[in-house]
């Protein structure tokens, strides 16, 4: 086969660009048939007043969502599943971030915990990654989807028992997969370490989540699909395809396997965690503030440009490597094009919370979501710049990229998920958070901790890369100079883990029945008392 950089990159780029133009044209022609008024869909789907909405500290706002006709959108059966998912995801977060801290400490205390193989850096680090990606983020965000999809579509969750089976199976698979990695049973590919025999069950559990959500979408009681729904529906198509294709045993080998590896690993961020995180922010920012997003039609560009460009950026992980030049160049070009959807989302989301700083100060859930959304802009723009060949020469192979990965997966997605949990859980149990001081502690621990974490790795990693490119310096210098920065990362990481325990403490307390209850109406406790979820009163 005869390939040239020019033709292939050009064809792909041209198709993407044409699609974008068609999109803009259809918006201008109103072919997509929606207006700024549709941004109010989320307020109309639920019988709930506009204005600052923070059920975390206001007992009167902890009511379970109800449709305009008085139907409960999240009846008790759904509430139990969502709480189960959130509680188990938090457990994986505690375990996963503790493992991450241990791995971080091992990089400057190399003789610590070395007696057995499961404790070695290579396994600890890998268990950390798989726990936080599959156990915490994927599971937690699917739990959030079980709340968001019914709420934006103004109907109850269908097939809740199927979703519950998915939640149980996902937990078992994550546990088994991480145990396998600890025991040395691995597929050996970054982000795909869990053995394919266990991956089968992860794939099944994702289907068990997706099917009830799609059936719910079919029964929606709103005319318009709110932007959050686009992102969630897209993600539900993308993740199963990515996960199954990348895990088929025996299909991939050699360098070709590396291209599949990074096609998967970057798309799991771009077409799974990112849409779930951005979609959640598109719901939570206007919901908590009580005002619609800035420009609803712009969100269309943000969504489709994300799909077009993000899906092709993966090969920037192989810059300077043994893969054909054209495919690397293609990914570099599309990485730069990612500025388009990122700016579209930024223009939509940031004016909303920046224009309501009073709400930002008053509500910690809103702070988590707003800063999370801001960090999406930051992480994506940093990623686009990092994909430039000249910048990649410095940052590739260094701790700088680890800092970047955590800016996306932690400061963006995890922050949004924290905000979502602080908002949703009180409305599931009908009580406010029992220890508001722990919420404040959680916020400041993870904000300060992450700032230290990110600054350490960014500066240390950049210096490491510069040293590695300098032929007059011995390679050992590039490693030795990182040690103080790696120590700084452990300090920041410790604060973050401490913050997670503060959150978990509050979660346990609210689940065992602490915290001020809502006087009228229904949370889980009241529903059980009257044994008739449908009889829930007004708000």
């Amino acid at each position: 086969m005869e390939f040239t950089i020019g033709t292939l990159v050009l064809v792909s780029f041209a198709v993407s660009l044409v699609a974008l133009v068609v999109l803009i044209w259809t918006i201008s022609r109103s072919e997509m048939r929606f207006t700024q008024a549709d941004a109010h869909t989320i307020f109309e789907a639920e019988a709930r007043g506009e204005g600052l909405d923070d059920p975390g500290t206001r007992p009167e706002q902890t009511g379970s969502p109800q449709g305009r006709d008085g139907d409960s959108l999240v009846p008790e059966s759904s509430r139990r599943i969502i709480l189960f998912v959130f509680a188990t995801a938090t457990l994986w977060l505690l375990l996963g971030s503790s493992f991450g801290l241990i791995a971080s400490l091992k990089l400057h205390l190399p003789d610590w915990l070395n007696s057995v193989a499961p404790l070695t850096f290579g396994r600890m680090r890998t268990m950390h990654l798989n726990l936080v990606i599959y156990g915490w983020l994927s599971l937690g965000l699917m739990g959030l989807a079980l709340w968001l999809i019914p709420t934006i579509f103004a109907t109850r969750l269908r097939l809740p028992s199927v979703a519950m089976a998915g939640a149980v199976l996902m937990n078992l698979s994550v546990g088994a997969g991480v145990w396998a990695i600890g025991a040395g049973w691995t597929d050996g590919l970054e982000w795909l370490e869990i053995p394919w025999q266990i991956d089968i069950f992860i794939a099944i559990s994702v289907f068990l989540f997706v099917v009830p959500l799609l059936v719910t979408a079919r029964h929606r009681n709103v005319r318009h699909i709110y932007v959050t729904g686009w992102y969630y529906l897209g993600a539900m198509v993308w993740f199963p395809v990515l996960f199954i294709v990348a895990n088929i045993p025996g299909l991939h080998s050699g360098v070709q396997q590396a291209t599949v590896n990074w096609w998967f690993a970057h798309n799991v961020l771009g077409l799974w965690l990112t849409p779930l995180g951005v979609g959640a922010a598109y719901y939570l920012l206007p919901r908590i503030i009580g005002k619609p997003i800035y420009s609803y039609s712009l969100s269309l560009v943000g969504f489709w440009a994300l799909a077009l460009f993000y899906s092709q950026v993966g090969m920037h992980h192989l810059i300077g490597g043994p893969v054909p030049t054209w495919v690397v160049t293609l990914s570099v070009v599309q990485s730069i094009m990612m500025f388009v959807p990122v700016i579209a989302v930024a223009v939509n989301q940031h004016p909303l919370w920046l224009g309501n700083l009073g709400a930002f100060r008053a509500s910690i859930p809103l702070r988590f979501v707003s800063i999370g959304a801001l960090m999406y802009t930051a992480a994506s723009m940093q990623g686009s710049i990092e994909a430039l060949r000249s910048v990649s020469s410095v940052t590739h192979f260094t701790h700088y990229t680890v800092g970047h990965a955590h800016l996306g997966a932690y400061a963006f997605v995890t922050f949004v998920l924290f905000g979502a949990l602080y908002y949703v859980i009180p409305r599931l149990v009908g009580r406010v958070w029992p220890f508001p001081s722990f919420i404040v502690a959680h916020w400041w621990l993870v904000v300060v901790g992450f700032a230290i974490y990110f600054a350490s790795l960014t500066f240390g990693g950049w210096l490491q890369g510069k040293a590695m490119l300098d032929p007059t310096r011995d390679w050992m210098e590039s490693m030795e100079l990182t040690v103080p920065y790696l120590t700084g990362r452990s300090v920041g990481g410790s604060l973050m883990v401490l913050g997670h325990f503060a959150f978990a403490f509050n979660l346990i307390a609210i689940l065992v029945g602490r915290g001020a209850e809502r006087k009228a109406g229904a949370g889980l406790a009241e529903a059980r008392a009257v044994a008739a979820p449908q009889s829930e009163g007004g708000n």
Binding site: L8, D111, H224, I319, S331, L486
Partner: protein, 207 residues
Amino acid sequence: MNRVLPLMLLAAAILAFATVFLVILPAGQIRTTAAAPGLEPYTEAQLRGRATYVDLGCVYCHSQQPRAPEQAPDVQRGWGRPSTAADYAYDTPHLLGTMRTGPDLLNIGARMPSRAWHLTHLYQPRAIHPTSIMPGFPFLFETKAEAAPDDVVVQLPERYRPPEEVVVATPEALDLVDYLLSLDRTYPAANPELRDNGYSQDRGPNK
């Protein structure tokens, strides 16, 4: 944007489009290429050693992909010539790596051909490089009062030697070293178009 099915179909089509470019076309180009003429398949012992390298997660600190001189001084550091796809024909799972917390290892067998050096370094890296942050792998070794005739004894400085005992390599450690010594791609490059030549002035042979 008021209907579910068209949205999901379009989303799937976009991913399929990306997959053609990032997965199928590169596969067509790479998989049809033969192994480099100088490249030997791994032996049984080397494959066992490679499996240990994979399950201990060595790849998370060591890359196996020297860069071109136009981009980085990898050749000057003795890490070998820029590699091409044909150098990895027998590599499953691939171990290209994304970090250089440790040095690149694609040619470690050529650079450090001593088995004794590797055994000492794997048992306690700081016995060789005092500032190293690589973990030791003591669980790949046994300590005994006295070595049996066919035992491979690990040479250690006084500081790291257990008192009154000798450290001997397990078969797992010997296989791992066998694999490390097999990492030698010093033969001439094949298929120079199958690598990222984006840094070279003439953009390489792949115009």
